[in-house]
């Protein structure tokens, strides 16, 4: 199985390249204000976009909408919004998930 090593090495180099792209090449040079303005919203755009399809179409149910997972997601988000406490939100979401899976599943 030689193909696997080509894949591993190419992905190792490629992934590092993506991660190093700006940190390495731009470094401490000033970026224009309009670029910085967009970059301020990277986390708040990418992370919800990463998570939403996992919530709406969970892999565990082969993509079928799952009420316990939807409820857990909403509770987690709401607790985070209301209290700004990540651990509390995770705990509340987990309790909701297991509670709803037990009651509805």
């Amino acid at each position: 199985m030689k193909e696997i090593w080509i894949v591993i090495i190419a992905m190792g180099i490629g992934t590092f390249g993506l991660r190093f792209l700006f940190l390495g090449l731009v470094g401490d040079r000033e970026m224009p204000p309009w670029v910085l303005r967009h970059l301020r919203y990277t986390a708040v755009a990418i992370l919800p976009a990463l998570v939403t399809p996992l919530v709406v179409w969970p892999q565990a149910t082969n993509g079928a909408i799952d009420p316990p997972r939807l409820m857990a997601a909403l509770v987690t988000l709401a607790l985070g919004l209301r209290y700004g406490n990540v651990l509390l939100a995770i705990g509340g979401g987990a309790v909701t998930l297991y509670g709803a899976l037990y009651l509805l599943g």
Partner: protein
């Protein structure tokens, strides 16, 4: 390393990164199991995990290899899944771009979803953090994540059994990230960016190579920037 180590921020990073053990452990176990089932040796599985540290892309590569896709397609598709890492890199550059070269190499190697999410929030909440504090926080946040990712993969590859699905650990990933999104939504611009990104992530979910994420993410960033500009102008007038 010595001058860029701030103990208190390193410990803060560790503390904030701890919940991610619940994400990384099942995901790593699963990768170890799936990789060995696909015929990879333990050495190949571990090399993969240590060199790439990007679960979703590693699964994509395995899946495509199992389908006998051409090697070039395997590599391109799996790297497309990791395009978001370039966005993370850009987003952290204004904060830690001033680090010495080798520190930036280390930060880049360890740049994953989890410590990116934690660091970007922390840097915005505490704009007065020094460069050593920022670097130490980011390294602290990866400390519970990366070693456990390696370890879980190794255990998975070794025993070939994963955690039973009844525990619903698949949902640990969404819950951990959702818990962080709430505190990020501090202004109308943040909310608008997130809403647009969420909506478009569902609309463009059909796109191949995970490109829906990039479309949704970039549209969300443009929305946030535009709303910020609009708010500033309204305040000025």
């Amino acid at each position: 390393m010595t001058s860029y180590f701030d103990r208190s921020y390193y410990l803060k990073g560790i503390r904030d990164g701890l919940p991610f053990i619940f994400v990384v452990a099942p995901f790593g176990l699963l990768f170890g199991v799936v990789a060995t089932e696909a015929g990879l040796s333990i050495f190949e599985t571990m090399s993969f995990t240590v060199l790439v540290i990007a679960g979703a892309a590693q699964f994509t590569a395995l899946q495509l290899m199992a389908e006998n896709a051409p090697t070039v397609i395997v590599i391109i598709s799996a790297l497309a899944v990791n395009l978001r890492m370039a966005m993370y890199s850009a987003s952290l550059t204004p904060h830690i771009g001033g680090l010495p070269f080798w520190h930036r190499v280390i930060a880049a190697y360890f740049l994953v979803d989890q410590n990116y999410a934690l660091s970007s929030v922390k840097y915005e909440q505490e704009p007065d953090m020094t460069l050593p504090q920022k670097f130490s926080y980011m390294m602290g946040a990866i400390t519970p994540v990366a070693p456990n990712w390696y370890l879980a993969t190794f255990v998975g590859a070794l025993i070939g059994k994963t955690i039973p699905p009844g525990l619903a650990l698949d949902f640990a990933v969404p819950i951990c990230f959702l818990a962080m999104i709430g505190p990020m939504l501090r202004t109308g611009a943040h909310v608008a960016a997130a809403l647009v990104a969420v909506t478009l992530s569902l609309v463009f979910a059909f796109l191949p190579y995970n490109l829906g994420l990039m479309v949704a993410g970039i549209a969300g960033m443009i929305t946030g920037a535009q709303v910020e500009l609009w708010t500033e102008r309204r305040r000025a007038s």
